[in-house]
Symmetry: C2
Subunit: 217 residues, 2 copies
DNA sequence: GTCTATAACCGGATAGAC
DNA sequence: GTCTATCCGGTTATAGAC
């Protein structure tokens, strides 16, 4: 255990990809997503997660030195896939900003487990003592900051009406996204998350775009 | 334990009020809300809940014969206060429907613990094996059904545009409510849940109301 | 109505064999 | 890198005293 780095693992500098030989780590991460989704953090069990991977609890703790470091690794791993992918490049317009969110909804619609996990952990994390509290607080304000910035630039460029309440629009869009994910997780067949979000995005964008200005695509 | 009725308790027929002598039951219910909010269902502990009330785990199980029946009682107790209060009377118009939702947001803004509990349990309940799965599935479809009905009647009465997508509007409003509650629970000081929802409600109602028709108040 | 005691089990983390 | 063994504590639920 002196050679293991617990929740971090070795990775190349450039893109956060993992060296070969970490397939076991990745399998643990994937299994952990499903367990955190089903049980939340506190009620998840390292032994049950390990069993899904085909090892014992002791074996799992060789890769992640504690339950909390496993949670951190799961969250960081998800962020490498998502946040950079969807928020890495600055949107050139408000329209593109909403399009990006719709594509994110579309992507999430293919990963029920991850959505359920984020639903549960986000809800749990409202407690300051929760190990994911800092993560979600930071993540929320970061997404809010980026989107508000994009919308403000769109106001400056003349795309959006000058009186658009950028922080409020951003917060509302996030609320719709999170709220739809809750409903979709409860009833994946009965809720068309992507269509619902696209309808919201189109209507909201239209409402704050300067009149007569055509929307791309 | 043969005289206790576990999760139901005795109540008068008319309004679900509890007979005197059930103060202990009510205190347990209140404590349980805080624990389910903080720990979720699985990771909550009867002994810790009991300790908050000033009794032992054994004493608690005299009032609720199992952990699951305690959860059911908590949910039913909340519904007596909320759903009937806000959805008992049929809204006379779409405007009143949205006003009712805004008042519900306002009411919820005074009860952080209950909001946190519903956030966590709703997220957890997406798992079919969760003891609250049936409750939230039913509750969601019920709220959706009622609101969709109200909107449809508003279309028929000429208040709303004929092409309004009533189920989509209803689902979206619920998503905004739930999503804002997640953000508010994470940062109660930094999020004005009521103002955010009112802004959403006003704008959305305006977008689907027939042009030139004045909005009450 | 509340307590204590107990049954039977599961939790995370550590140590050390291989 | 994975296992087994172990420590110490927590979990729900039951039984029975008072």
């Amino acid at each position: 255990m002196s050679t293991s780095r617990g929740g971090n693992g070795r990775r190349t500098a450039a893109r956060g990809t993992y060296a070969v030989g970490d397939e076991r780590r990745l399998r643990i991460l994937d299994a952990a997503v499903e367990h955190f989704a089903q049980w939340g953090f506190h009620a998840s069990s390292l032994a049950r997660i390990a069993k899904d991977v085909g090892i014992t609890q002791g074996g799992l703790l060789h890769h992640f030195r504690s339950k909390e470091s496993l949670l951190v690794a799961v969250l960081e791993h998800s962020d490498e896939q998502d946040v950079e992918r969807f928020f890495g490049t600055e949107p050139a317009s408000a329209a593109e900003c909403f399009t990006t969110l719709t594509r994110l909804a579309s992507h999430n619609a293919t990963r029920l487990g991850r959505v359920k996990m984020f639903n549960v952990l986000l809800a749990e994390a409202s407690n300051p003592g929760h190990p994911a509290h800092a993560y979600f607080t930071r993540r929320n304000s970061e997404v809010l900051r980026r989107m508000t910035g994009s919308l403000r630039r769109a106001v400056d460029s003349g795309e959006l009406k000058p009186d658009a309440d950028c922080p409020a629009v951003a917060r509302e869009a996030i609320a719709v996204m999170d709220g739809l994910q809750l409903q979709w997780a409860l009833d994946p067949e009965g809720v068309d998350m992507v269509a619902q979000f696209r309808a919201y995005a189109d209507r909201t964008l239209r409402a704050i775009t300067v009149t007569g200005r055509g929307l791309p695509a």
